[in-house]
């Protein structure tokens, strides 16, 4: 018998640890112009994310369940319904993203929606940044074709678009201390490319990057 075969199963198991979608991409701190940061970027991690797609005519039943269980109104236009800890973002006709602030109970949430929509867990497949700051619109305007002015893009508005050839899903959350707050979601595999564009665009305004302490597990 070889040495390998005599090792216990536990010793043979690879050490899987969760790795942030932004690991090795974001560094905490500031970059670009000195002085007060015109732009802030905060990594969002540990989110529960699922895509929901209803069969034709199935939205009424899903809307009823969403309202009853989560108090969220199912948007039929590019909007995001946001409550404490959860969001429901329009993702095309008959399609939505359901997002929970943490994954505790997320499986139960999805189970409760079972049968009402085609549900696919996207939690590890997307990368999300919260972007804000006095100069955020000027930084985003370098590549984002959506008009993000408050008169055209109010709190709760959402959009699917392309930035630097990268598919982006974005929505506007409640205003924060630095004004408008935007959530930007990209496919996890595009996180590095998106950051390459955004960091170059934001540098002239000075950018402060925050990585929540609770989310530093597995940073590369």
């Amino acid at each position: 018998m070889s040495d390998a075969a005599t090792k216990s199963d536990a010793a043979m198991k690879p050490g899987w640890t969760p790795r942030s979608a932004w690991a090795g991409i974001l560094s905490e701190g500031s970059f670009g112009a000195k002085g007060p940061a015109g732009v802030t970027a905060t990594a969002r991690e540990g989110l529960g994310i699922a895509s929901l797609i209803v069969a034709e005519g199935g939205d009424a039943a899903l809307a009823k369940a969403m309202k009853a269980r989560f108090g969220l109104a199912l948007p039929s236009t590019p909007q995001a319904a946001i409550s404490a800890g959860r969001a429901l973002v329009w993702a095309g006709p008959g399609q939505w993203l359901f997002i929970a602030g943490d994954r505790g109970g997320f499986a139960d949430d999805l189970q409760a929606l079972s049968g009402l929509a085609a549900i696919a867990d996207q939690s590890d497949g997307r990368a999300v940044l919260t972007l804000s700051g006095d100069k955020i619109r000027a930084a985003l305007a370098k590549g984002c074709m959506i008009d993000l002015h408050p008169s055209a893009f109010s709190v709760g508005s959402s959009a699917l678009t392309s930035i630097a050839h990268i598919g982006v899903h974005l929505w506007r959350a409640e205003d924060g201390p630095n004004g408008a707050v935007f959530e930007f979601m990209v496919a996890r595999s595009m996180a590095g490319s998106f950051w390459s564009w955004f960091s170059a665009s934001a540098a002239e305004f000075g950018c402060q990057v925050t990585i929540p302490r609770a989310c530093r597990v597995g940073r590369g």
Binding site: E56, G57, T77, P78, G92, P93, M145, L160, T161, S162
Partner: protein
Amino acid sequence: MRIPCPHCGARDAQEFTYLGDANPKRPDGMEATEAAMFDYVYQRDNPAGRFRELWYHGAGCHAWLVVTRDTKTHAIEAAEPAKPTKAGAAA
């Protein structure tokens, strides 16, 4: 050129993929003659002027649209979902 997507609003044409003429209807392949299938697959008009054409909003709502466009001026008269929305279905 900007296309007024009925779901997303006006968006740059780079968000869309062009398919072409929205008018041909696929004949029943089991019944149709070879000539009818040939016409469906290969024969296309190339009008100078008003044209109904299919566009796919791949970088946005992922919906197929029928866009009525003037091929001489690029003026867009209408953009509507290619799939008719049934009563009670999501907008």
